[in-house]
Symmetry: C3
């Protein structure tokens, strides 16, 4: 590892890592929804708790930006990265909330493509959490953003096939509309992970 | 008030204030739609007029950016703030237009949650209009963006409960689809006010 | 033409021009879908090929940004412009794919407003492709972004009238939902052309 001339501002890296670890908790909760006999309201409530944690982390990050004279990279980029990690969590929470509010988990089963999308999100969350500590040395990040983009493409395909199924006539119009809302939040979460990766790429381009 | 070393470029603050005052006119017109026996086409037309005013203000702002050597803060931020104020107006106009185009005001009544969302927008417009003149001294802005974010969360909850009602079976599928379009524009307007507040926060962070 | 003091970095302009020319190919393929007896799967596949070309161009552009010491304008703006041109193509591809996947071309005819939107996109693509080489001298760009904005407004009107027709009761609910997805991608493509134009305007403002 090269010696860093940048001021050691570990707190920023810690906050990014905490925020990303929270996203892993979020996708793990979504995975629980697939288990038989799960208490959907409880999962939805715990997602809301994790989302509040994320808000607190984002808030701490913003305060840190305001109170720090020299930041490890551009203030605006720290700000973007923080708010984009927060955006992912908002979409994850929305998925759990909507499944509960619309009573969709009372259906015999959710479409297979929804589970595929949750699985993509889970992988994205894990490699994002792995990548955040590597921001410090600005090393090994390219593989991270390439993989996030690959997963986003995979998510896009699952989303598209999910819509084909929803519009196939298998479900009534109102159920289709409800599932479409959930599908859109799942896809927005996939995209939001990509926005995080794009910002990491922008930071790395500037620093290189 | 501290003495400002920034060049006095009052015209920028005036244009931001005018743009925000126009948003207040916009939300007041949306409020008129709730009145019994209202002429919906007339309200929709007046919204379009207000939107044209906003376009002109945005245009004047861009010309001002181009013709001014020293701007009170970063050109790009002035540009963002102007275009984001304009975005809010686009969504407000869309709400009025769609209600008219889809004939939704012919229903016995619109869902209560729609009125709640218009009320949130009205509050957001008023505190945004109050905050714009404070950009000059960069004081008292934190309470503004905190309140906008709180209102945006309130709007999110109303939006979510609105969808639950729309998908409850109370309305036929086509009416649901029409109302969903209006609901999405209302929610996008709430978000757009938050984008304005985020840009104000970014500017304040840079200047602090 | 004024003598340019900017380092001659023709490769960037070439890549932007190639990306924009690809968008013209994309809208021409969408126009083919209106022809009687067209092989929809073949058009959809060719759109996917053009989209892969665009991905490669974007990738080359990013590599060029990383390996070039002095860029003709801000790295971040080159980056934005490249990714926004890529976004347009993603939406064009989505239109073709969805029309095929949902079997919508098997309908007796698509709504007239859809053809209007494709026509708007075709005009936007052509003037974008014309404008890209003019980035080099930073001349004659204002008329380009004004015209893109005018076309975007025209597209907005067509989109709105398309929704009025879709919700009129002429089609069943599932067909409406499928067409709505296509309509949203068409409208997103119109918007995406405007984002490209806005970035060109931002660059021109900075350079002026």
């Amino acid at each position: 590892m090269k010696f860093s001339f940048r001021p050691v501002e570990g707190a920023f890296y810690d906050l990014f890592t905490q925020a990303a670890n929270n996203l892993v908790k979020g996708t793990e909760l979504l995975n629980e929804l697939a288990l038989p006999g799960v208490d959907v309201q409880s999962v939805s409530d715990r997602l809301t708790d994790v989302e509040h944690d994320s808000d607190q982390i984002t808030h701490d990050l913003y305060k840190k930006i305001n109170s720090t004279f020299i930041t490890p990279f551009d203030r605006e980029d720290i700000y973007s990265l923080g708010s984009q990690l927060d955006d992912v969590m908002d979409h994850l929470e929305a998925v759990g909330n909507l499944l509960y509010l619309y009573g969709l988990t009372e259906l015999p089963s959710l479409p297979r493509e929804m589970h595929e999308l949750v699985d993509v999100l889970d992988q994205q969350a894990k490699i994002t959490a792995d990548a955040m500590p590597r921001l410090r040395a600005m090393k090994g990040l390219e593989e991270y953003w390439i993989e996030i983009n690959r997963l986003e493409n995979e998510g896009d395909r699952s989303y598209r096939m999910l819509l084909v199924r929803l519009f196939s006539g298998e479900y009534d119009a109102l159920t289709v509309l409800k599932m479409k809302e959930v599908a859109d939040e799942l896809e927005a979460a996939c995209d939001a992970f990509e926005h995080v990766a794009n910002t990491v790429e922008t930071i790395a381009v500037k620093e290189s």
